[in-house]
Symmetry: C2
Subunit: 246 residues, 2 copies
């Protein structure tokens, strides 16, 4: 059955019919990090019902956004098609837009490896990285561990298992990034206020939003310059009691 149509002949409408169903764009978000197995997706989306996951994957395949790739003797993975990959700038822009309205986490909100990886990508400032020396960070948030390599050519992120070993390099995140990190630090959800510029690195440490585990703590400044989403003018006028009568 074709997805319930909105009855309009329009590009935005078509896009929403392709990726607007519940959970669909979060699946795309995770697949933007790299190919993933069914089980990986289920873990990365802890609250998705399994029937919805399989339904969405089918719909995304029919829409030409996702494809299913069998691995030799290793099960299979889902990956974005070239067309699906064109959503990357859109998903990143949406992540930046949504960032402005993230409050504090709900009690049972989780941070997953893929969502944190994409969050760093949304916050990455190419311009800042271009002017700064290369750096390797290891970032711990909840039980997610990321190795983050920044140099003027760009950003690379590898996900480490909690144990400390990189995940299977065939599944998208190259392990070649793992030089010894210059800075290892752990953060809670309050890291959001570092990225938004509400907190300086020093404040963040004072308020225990963040703790340096190893390495050169002064690199936190550079991290904050490299990953930043200033709250936009629009986002701040939320409570604006404007009653403008035109």
């Amino acid at each position: 059955m074709a997805s319930r149509s909105y009855g309009q002949y329009c590009g935005v409408t078509t896009a929403v019919e392709l990726i607007g169903e519940r959970w669909a764009l979060l699946i795309v978000r995770d697949l933007l990090v790299g190919p993933r197995r069914y089980t990986d997706l289920k873990q990365g989306l802890p609250k998705i019902p399994t029937n919805i996951l399989s339904t969405r994957l089918k719909e995304l395949q029919e829409g030409g956004v996702v494809r299913r790739v069998p691995l030799l003797h290793c099960g299979l993975v889902y990956e974005l098609t070239p067309y699906g990959r064109e959503l990357e700038p859109i998903v990143l822009a949406l992540g930046r837009w949504g960032f402005a309205h993230m409050g504090d986490p709900a009690p049972d909100d989780v941070v997953t490896a893929d969502s944190l990886t994409m969050a760093l990508r949304t916050a990455f400032r190419t311009d800042a990285a271009a002017d700064l020396p290369p750096a390797d960070y290891e970032l711990h948030v909840a039980d997610v561990v990321l190795r983050v390599h920044v140099d003027p050519s760009g950003l690379r992120i590898a996900q480490l298992q909690p144990a400390g070993r990189p995940v299977d390099p065939r599944l998208g995140t190259r392990a070649s990034v793992v030089d010894d990190p210059d800075l290892v630090f752990a953060a809670g959800p309050g890291i959001r206020r570092l990225i938004s510029g509400e907190l300086t690195p020093a404040d963040a440490i004072d308020q225990e939003v963040l703790a340096v585990v190893a390495g050169d703590a002064t690199l936190l400044e550079r991290f904050a310059q490299t990953f930043s989403i200033p709250l936009s003018a629009g986002a701040q006028t939320l409570e604006d009691p404007l009653t403008t009568v035109v």
Copy 2:
């Protein structure tokens, strides 16, 4: 009741919670054209149930995306907040992305004034307009009539009533655009293939996708250069029977 949470602390997730419900982004699309009354929105979204429209408008207000503005003695309009207006580049990009997968219209698909206005915005090439002399078009699609003014500084579109009079200028579309058009033409849904580059203007006329009503027919070339969404590489590999085994 807070919208069903996805249970993740992430910007993309937050964005999807704000504007990911059914119909929400189409409401935003129409409000990007200008402030609209409840009834305007209902007309622009012919298939939306009225309870859904009012529910979405409430949710979008709670999310700081939309606000309700009373007009003196004239009812009230809904308009995007500054934060909501920051969705413009995202919605335009989504429109371009979805454009690649628009097939032929379903039998009962409609084209509304707002969706066509936004479609022209998604297709507008600033770079092309910068190099071309100014032009005024009048475009008829189904019963929608648009006055389109292009000059190096950008694009302005006014919606005309079928009768031929501009809509109330207080409601977003300035009527000041309405110089006498250099070209008046009528098109069917096949205009999509002109925008995509599948058809040249001459072909479009031959195939009766398009008919010049008045003015200088050679301006169709300029129109096609100004409004263009080339099908991306990714979009064409849809049927790609790739069975790559990694």
